[in-house]
């Protein structure tokens, strides 16, 4: 078992009484698995993802529960202990490739950052070589050229690839991805999903993929948790959940996805 979340509760403190964002959820992840968490806004999916590395904003926090990563409870770790795990064994990528990269540092610096913090005495050349490898692996053409560029010189899709390179350069066991394709165009989104699949297949990196988009989850994940208002409504293999949903909420969610099977237009339907 790679990750085990037990009876996790998350609360917002800035309301009176505290509002429960996540209400006692439990789930686990095996090594090499791609697990999706899908839900609408207010479902608690992002809070769940952020809580794993204690990245919750200061107005919220874990009120009870355990987050076991390879048997160690992350929820009880101090900041310094957690720092050893963050970006080394567990990495995270976010929705906005614009704001999650530092605009005044070169791409190379930012990809190497993880190695500097956790690198067991890598030399400058070794770090650069590793960064170039990671950039190449993230599917960026001409890693050498991109290494010295600044984020604003890249397109949204390329920035997200840089984020992925920076997250993977330390060869983490778990990658948490919070809506990483939401801000991207469909064609770019499809490429990024392909890339994540490749990485998972090649290195066995486990991926916890958070999204509001059921279609994306279906394309990428093996197993899925459907969350609504802080609880896990349904859990199971993606094919099972999507083809034979058991719970009403999941059914409603699936029925709402726009597809290309049926038009909403009476006029066109009657044609």
């Amino acid at each position: 078992m790679l990750l085990e979340v037990k009876n996790l509760n998350i609360e917002f403190y800035d309301t009176d009484p505290p509002e429960k964002a996540v209400k006692g959820i439990s789930f686990s992840m095996e090594q090499g698995e791609i697990l999706g968490i899908v839900g609408e806004s207010g479902s608690g999916k992002t809070q769940t993802a952020l809580s794993i590395l204690q990245l919750l904003k200061s107005n919220s926090g874990i009120s009870s529960g355990e987050i076991l990563f390879k048997g160690k409870n992350l929820a009880g770790l101090s900041g310094r202990e957690l720092q050893k795990i963050r970006g080394k064994e567990i990495s995270m990528i976010f929705q906005e490739p614009m704001t999650s990269l530092n605009p005044v540092l070169t791409v190379g610096r930012q990809v190497e950052e993880g190695l500097k913090l956790h690198g067991e005495g890598f030399s400058k050349e070794q770090r650069k070589a590793k960064a170039l490898d990671a950039l190449g692996e993230a599917g960026l053409p001409d890693p050498e050229g991109i290494y010295g560029k600044y984020p604003h010189q890249l397109s949204g899709g390329m920035r997200q690839r840089v984020m992925i390179a920076a997250a993977l350069v330390t060869e983490p066991e778990l990658l948490i991805a919070d809506e990483p394709t939401t801000a991207l165009d469909v064609t770019v989104q499809a490429q990024i999903l392909e890339l994540l699949k490749e990485i998972n297949a090649k290195h066995g990196t486990s991926i916890l993929f958070i999204s509001h988009d059921l279609a994306v989850i279906r394309k990428l994940c093996g197993r899925v948790l459907v969350m609504n208002q802080g609880v896990v409504v349904e859990e199971g293999e993606v094919s099972r959940v999507f083809d034979h949903p058991q719970k009403d909420y999941t059914k409603k969610l699936l029925a709402a996805i726009p597809d290309r099977r049926r038009s909403l237009r009476k006029r066109r339907r009657s044609q």
Binding site: V186, T187, Q189, L214, A215, L253, A255, P258, R262, L264
Partner: protein, 236 residues
């Protein structure tokens, strides 16, 4: 069918520093009476600029825009910025009627009946936009556009910022209102599936040009342009 809008050979550009960046390159299109026309394209293709040109917010460098009805109204993508946060919903809905010098009592009546039509309760009229959900706000936007009696609506990604279940409700509402009133809607979206479900005709835009145009079913089943094929393949 009559046209209510014709865009003829319109080009437009932005100044990017000293260089002029062409955003629209010789665009021609028409919007017919009683139809939902979809405009699909990826970011930077110029679809939002096109709507600004139609509304007169951006002057085209070439070509002309012919309106055969009153100025269109607009439903914006971001329901958080499209409604004045300091005003009550009722006040916002009344404002266009105030501009048309409609007497106070009639204004109130029309606001209430329009609110009902779009599925807003009377009590919501006394709230400010901040106290409404994203979906409710989008209903207010639609109501504001329709209350003016406009026959033409431009909707720029009106459902992109919404959760799927809410998205569905707003799509159904727009289709229903269109079918009831027979107005025309230019529906801009990046989401092919949303376009498929809502529109009668579709324009595919790329790099400031219209790549392909056709009846919805026809275009989705037999796309001619390579770009359309690629888009359809990438869309889930």
């Amino acid at each position: 069918m009559k046209n209510i809008l014709e865009v003829k050979h319109v080009s437009a550009s932005y100044k990017d520093g000293k260089e002029k960046q062409a955003v629209l390159k010789d665009i021609s299109l028409e919007v017919r009476e009683n139809e939902i026309l979809g405009l699909v394209g990826e970011s930077g293709c110029g679809k939002s600029t096109l709507s600004k040109v139609i509304l007169g917010f951006v002057k085209p460098s070439q070509g002309e825009v012919l309106h055969y009805t009153k100025m269109p109204q607009m439903v914006f993508q971001d329901p958080f910025s499209s409604l004045n946060p300091k005003k009550k919903v009722g006040w916002i809905l009344e404002e266009p009627l105030r501009m048309q010098k409609v007497p106070s009592r009639e204004r109130k009546e029309r606001v209430i009946s329009m609110a009902e039509k779009v599925g807003l309760t009377r009590e919501m009229l006394d709230r400010r936009p901040g106290e409404l959900s994203g979906g409710q706000r989008q209903r207010v936007s639609i109501a504001t556009a329709l209350i003016q009696g406009s026959r033409f609506l431009i909707a720029d990604e009106p459902v992109s910022a919404l959760d799927v279940t809410i998205q569905r409700q707003i799509m159904e509402l727009m289709v229903q209102l269109q079918e009831e009133t027979g107005i025309s809607i230019l529906f801009i979206s990046h989401d092919l599936n949303v376009i498929y479900q809502m529109c009668d005709r579709v324009l595919v835009m790329k790099d400031g040009k219209i790549e392909e145009e056709g009846e919805t079913e026809e275009l989705f089943e037999n796309p001619r342009s390579e770009y359309t094929k690629e888009l359809l393949k990438a869309a889930p």
